[in-house]
Symmetry: C2
Subunit: 240 residues, 2 copies
Amino acid sequence: MANPTAAMLVIGDEILSGRTRDANMHFLAGELTKHGIDLIEVRIVRDHAPAIETAVRALSETHDHVFTSGGIGPTHDDITADCIARAFGAHIDVRDDARALLEAHYDKSGQELNAARLRMARIPDGAALIDNPVSTAPGFTIGNVHVMAGVPLVFQAMVASVLPALTGGRPLLSQTLRLNRGEGDIAATLSELAAEFDDLTIGCYPFQTNGVFGANVVVRGTEGARIDAAITRLAKEFEI
Amino acid sequence: MANPTAAMLVIGDEILSGRTRDANMHFLAGELTKHGIDLIEVRIVRDHAPAIETAVRALSETHDHVFTSGGIGPTHDDITADCIARAFGAHIDVRDDARALLEAHYDKSGQELNAARLRMARIPDGAALIDNPVSTAPGFTIGNVHVMAGVPLVFQAMVASVLPALTGGRPLLSQTLRLNRGEGDIAATLSELAAEFDDLTIGCYPFQTNGVFGANVVVRGTEGARIDAAITRLAKEFEI
């Protein structure tokens, strides 16, 4: 049986302007791979309501899961929760369960739960809260969309809250063979190998270190024995 | 007049599996911002022909420029050039001008221009070559799509070859004000400021350093004087 599929939607002007380098995509990709969920596509869009809604709808229809990152804080440019609600045709307002979490948190820290912070309790009807052990303000899951914060520490904690409850498939395994040859010298052999081991994916990533050309060949699949067989064959072909 | 818009398409299983952390998106974002071209959307897709073709068509129709990264090397998983040709309905084969570049390069380095390497001379009819001063194998521009390599050094060199010829708009300028206050304490003021300065975008990026909560407020726009005015107002509001 094929693994479940996933897409990610990263929301934020600061990524697209080059001010901030996104770290969440790379983290999520690694976690999903370990969990046996195949990340198929990533989109990065601005803090712009039509762009967010269009992307969420498109990705939600074509993948088993969608993970979003960014735009759920207390400021005016945090519009993700309302956009997701609209994409699902769900009513959204400050919800009592989320408000109770924030009240307890700000009571303890002696800060005011003002109108801006209360926006972080806006949760669509029917959504399940995602636990945020770092800074309390929750994410949420509605339909097949998991809505999470952009701050990497919080995003990572939310992924840890969400992933164990999702049915994974077979983890994607991989092995890497480093060859000190130009990519063009090994391409024909790789092509034959890829045709024979068509249940695996075989990638080739060239590098250049101190003027020496080489390539890392990465063999991926869900069956360890098959990966072993492909790597063994490859090593033999190149007399390693 | 509004700035030209751009989208980026990153192609590669290795990014989506979490093996490799993409570096090209962040680089391109910064370069486009300096050049006055607005990066509106990024998509990352697998080495999978239908995914590449669908994304290229969609992005090419909705943006002034599309920049792609990855999948133009000599191995079997390098399918980008053929996919782009199909997306444009263009014929593709080894082209004499690209072949001549590769012949000269491999003659000089004493390596064989074998069938695999010759694949890097597959260029669609009507495309203009993009210079690659790092490793010779060219990228190309067809229609409004600029097809470039995934290896960061090569990608960066190709961007430097392409960008000067593109008409830019007004560079996006920005100033950052660091406030040692929780995001929730400044959100209301930022919201008023954003409404008043509606020609600027005002972003708020929270941080936590040694237990102190703070936020960087980033004001972006094309008119330096307006950004100055917004930052001055903000500093006054918070008595900095």
